[in-house]
């Protein structure tokens, strides 16, 4: 019997429940689909290329799942509240007719259960479909081939989804039962009436609050643009940033709080416009609505801001890596050797007392021949095929570049540092470098003949420094290179080792600055000095780079396989048997490209996921609010129609209101995001020119599809509701 009533109710209140059902179904769909990520990664062939990626993504996604579940729960409680508000009266009526509270509560439980089950079934079906499609999407993001595609179902994802839905169901139920248990019958019956009383705010006060909100936002913008992000974690920086954040949040809330009053006053100022057609109805309805939802509009604006910022930043980072990886991989294979510096040698030797091993460390007196030293490594150890790692067996052309630390063995200060150069050209330190080693430790140093050897190897023209010339190489992003370019361009004279030096180039040779394969710039500044000057400075060795192309008879696959084979790493010793250096990173071009693809895939995937979910949640909340608003205003629309307003005109008024509702938070979110992105770009530009251009396209598309889709659905449903309301005969 109760079951029958509940089922009847769901069908009768279909329109209200439809929104709830839609939102819940969408949530289940996205939830299930994204939780199948580890299976997708397998199917898309990502794990063959990068075995850790599936687990990594799976781990990150399950973390996000918690976040998503919270968002989803919030949404459901919201959608449910909307239904409850509209049905309080009905539940009151049941009690007047003699049903016990327990029975009413059971009816409600059953109703929620029906809808949740329907959403689960629909959502899982859509989620199954979406997850199959997403395999192709995943493959394209990670640039892999789908090895063997087959239909799949993830029990794990299914269980997580059901678990989350059950939790949300319980939370919603507790909310609902409290409504029934707490409310007196008389209140329930009067619920319809009470809603009609509209709190009206003083429009002048509202307008003033709106202006104050705008002012606060403006102040926060200026502060952020001025101070940048506190990437270094300095307490003052963090405090300033916190103040800025609070200011912008408060400003946003104030602005939305005062929005309706401001709009009303502004439009009333133009008499001809206000007293024309349905304009005043539109404004008043908007004002009445904004008063009750200003807080959630502010929250939505902030969420949209977060979504836009994270998606754009993520996609742009991925883009940056794509752009820099080509310049960053000039040869088939690179290997790097790290020399122990004077200070580290002293420290490591003094610590020897505690150490088990009896290695003695020493400062290198001259560069190590990397090709020869590499032969001490053993490939495929403990197998019959064990043999020395002899790069000569695969090498075609190769070059070794030896770079020095710019702080002399017996000195405390670098002969040239980024800080010095900034001072010389009167520029601030680039964002993000204020407290880094780059600033204090100084540039690396290589001598002219080494650099010319490198240039000839790369097929470029050698340079001529003469007695007193210098130049600077760097493959970092614009923020650092702007400083170097200005130093070179202005012909700044440097005083090094008692010699006055002038630049021989007028800008950084960015394409002749890369010494090792990497997805982003690694050379943050290397000064090239005349040979005799370098020799006289008594600088300790810092790095040796080996750059190598495979021989003609060696294919890329063979070469890659040779350098990727398992092997031991031996210490690099001098003649006295002391350790002078350790092996650093090595990378083939292929591996670098692959890790760029994986990295891009990971970042894009997360960015899209987060952005999609957040935008979806915001749009769903707006839709629920708008539809409930139209339902409440149904009587008003009927009156308008009876007064002789064409339905089209009423629909226009509704469209105007909804456009403002959907557009305002978006505009505010975009404005916030643009300011934040400006600061973020400065920071990220350090690692290579971060460009927003290419990625904005995809970001925009996601937004337009999700947000715009919700907007259209909202408007079309509203128009239907207006039609219905105006058709209904006046109940006399």
């Amino acid at each position: 019997m109760l079951c029958k009533i509940a089922w009847g109710n769901v069908r009768r209140a279909g329109k209200d429940y439809l929104i709830y059902l839609l939102t819940l179904t969408l949530a289940v769909t996205v939830f299930y689909a994204f939780n199948t990520i580890s299976i997708q990664v397998d199917l898309a062939g990502v794990s063959e290329q990068n075995s850790g990626m599936g687990d990594l993504l799976g781990g990150v996604i399950s973390g996000l799942t918690v976040f998503l579940a919270v968002v989803m729960g919030f949404l459901m409680v919201y959608a449910n509240n909307f239904i409850m508000k509209r049905r309080k009266k009905e539940f009151g009526l049941y009690q007047v007719l003699g049903m016990s509270r327990g029975q009413v509560a059971r009816i409600m439980t059953l109703e929620t259960l029906f809808v949740s089950l329907a959403a689960l079934v629909l959502g899982i079906i859509c989620g199954l479909a979406l997850s199959q499609v997403m395999v192709f999407f995943t493959a394209s993001i990670f640039k892999t081939q789908i090895a063997d595609f087959h239909f799949f179902f993830s029990l794990e994802a299914f269980c997580t989804t059901v678990g989350c839905l059950a939790a949300i169901f319980v939370v919603t139920l507790i909310f609902n039962l409290r409504v029934v248990a707490r409310a007196k019958v008389i209140d329930l019956m009067g619920a319809g009436r009470k809603n009609e009383i509209i709190r009206v705010r003083n429009p002048w006060l509202s307008a003033a609050i709106f202006i104050a909100g705008i002012a606060a936002i403006g102040v926060a913008y200026v502060r952020l643009l001025d101070q940048g992000l506190p990437y270094d974690g300095q307490p003052e920086g963090m405090r300033d940033f916190l103040i800025t954040t609070v200011t912008v949040v408060v400003g946003t809330i104030l602005m939305f709080y005062g929005l309706s009053g401001f709009l009303l006053k502004a439009l009333q100022g133009v008499r001809g416009l206000y007293w024309r057609g349905l304009n005043m109805v539109t404004m008043r309805q908007l004002a009445a609505k904004v008063n009750t939802v200003s807080m959630s509009m502010a929250v939505i604006a902030m969420i949209l801001f977060l979504a836009i910022t994270s998606v754009t930043t993520g996609m742009s980072l991925a883009d940056t890596m794509n752009n820099t990886v080509e310049r960053g991989t000039p040869v088939d294979y690179t290997r790097c050797l790290v020399y122990w510096g004077p200070r580290s040698v002293a420290e490591m030797n003094s610590r020897k007392a505690y150490a088990e091993d009896d290695v003695v460390y020493a400062v290198a007196t001259g560069p190590v021949d990397m090709m020869a030293a590499g032969k001490n490594d053993i490939m495929n150890p403990d197998t019959p095929e064990a043999k020395p790692f002899d790069l000569a067996s695969i090498a075609g052309s190769y070059v070794q570049v030896d770079a020095f630390d710019s702080t002399p063995r017996d000195g405390d200060h670098p002969v040239v540092s980024l800080g010095d150069l900034c001072e010389a050209v009167d520029m601030p330190l680039p964002a993000g470098t204020e407290n880094s080693d780059m600033t204090t430790l100084g540039l690396m140093v290589i001598d002219e003949s080494t650099y010319n050897k490198y240039l000839r190897f790369r097929g470029m023209e050698p340079i001529e420094l003469g007695e007193n010339g210098y130049t600077i190489t760097s493959d970092m992003g614009a923020t650092v290179n702007d400083v170097y370019n200005k130093v070179l361009g202005e012909g700044i004279k440097l005083e090094i080792g008692g010699r006055a030096l002038t630049p021989v180039q007028d800008r950084v040779p960015e394409d002749a600055s890369t010494f090792q394969n990497a997805m982003m710039g690694m050379n943050s500044g290397t000064i090239v000095l005349p040979d005799d000057l370098v020799a006289s400075l008594n600088l300790p060795l810092y790095y040796s780079y080996l750059m190598l192309n495979y021989a003609d008879g060696v294919s890329v696959e063979e070469g890659d396989a040779y350098v990727a084979a398992p092997r031991t790493y031996s210490d690099v010793l001098n003649e006295a048997g002391e350790s002078i250096a350790g092996w650093g990173t090595e990378a083939s071009r292929t591996v670098t490209y692959e890790s760029v693809d994986s990295m891009n895939g990971l970042i894009s995937y997360l960015a899209i996921y987060i952005g999609f979910v957040l935008v979806l949640a915001c749009a769903a909340i707006l839709t629920i609010q708008q539809l409930s608003g139209v339902a409440e205003a149904g009587a008003n629309y009927r009156i308008l129609s009876e007064l002789g307003t064409a339905t089209d005109q009423i629909a226009h008024s509704v469209l105007a209101q909804q456009t403002i509702f959907f557009l305002f938070p978006l505009v505010v979110g975009i404005a916030h995001a643009m300011v934040a992105l400006k600061v973020i770009i400065e920071l990220v530009a350090l690692f290579g020119g971060m460009s927003i251009g290419g990625t904005v396209g995809l970001t925009t598309l996601i937004f337009v599809v999700a947000y715009g889709g919700y907007f259209c659905v909202t408007y079309l449903m509203s128009r239907g509701m207006v039609h219905e309301a105006t058709l209904a005969r006046h109940a006399a």
């Binding site: 009609e196 009383i197 509209i198 009206v200 008499r271 001809g272 206000y274 007293w275 024309r276 057609g277 349905l278 304009n279 005043m280 109805v281 008043r284 309805q285 004002a287 009445a288 205003a633 009587a635 008003n636 009156i639 308008l640 129609s641 009876e642 007064l643 002789g644 307003t645 064409a646 339905t647 005109q649 005969r729 006046h730 006399a732």
Partner: protein, 262 residues
Amino acid sequence: MKTAGANGAPVLEVRHIEKVYGTRNNATHALRDVSFTVEEGDFIGIMGASGSGKSTLLNCISTIDAVTSGTVLVHGTDVTRLKAKKLARFRREQLGFIFQDSNLLDTLTVRENIALPLTISRVPAHDVLIRVEEVARRLGIAETLEKYPYQLSGGQQQRVAAARALVTDPAIIMADEPTGALDSKNARLLLESLETMNERYRATVLMVTHDSFAASYTHRVLFIRDGRIFTELRRGDAPRQAFFERIMEVVAMMGGDGSDAL
């Protein structure tokens, strides 16, 4: 028979209208062959028991509801054949409505509520404000113009609704039980307003009521029973008290299910 023309045509001519609700096997015949004519400046009452078809008749005339058959001519134009756009315009320009519940927009102030029919018709803002002020003064609600409907008493709300109906200078004012939700003092105030509108401003008024006292303010009363015009009373030059007694007699004569509802 007079030919229907723009000049000389009666304000309203109802010819043989029928209204059937529901499906063929479950039909309610709400109106059966109703015909009557209203001249310019008439004040007509429509009386009948609950469910006799009064509201249906009013809704059919005002095109809020569609007739099943028959015609309704307003100034000679058949409004049952108008298309949606023209219909909205007809309602806007020719009719004024007052309902039992005042049907004001709760989000608008009194001034805006009264102005609504004018702004919908795109009357210039300057004229809108002048006309609203004037009609509000006539109905004694000038002080409430800046208030919201929920801040007014039921009687005031009903007068605001009347002001909204009058502000466009409609050909016919339609009132469906306008005093139904009012106490006797407020009911009298509203009826006097309608009387003033009719006598001083020559407004044509069509008022549905089941209250004999309210009906006694009119010039002519149509009695409806089971969807048919049962009989009709004309006041002529009789004073209101005498007319009231004659109405009471008819109500008593209709008897049975009629009297208990009246």
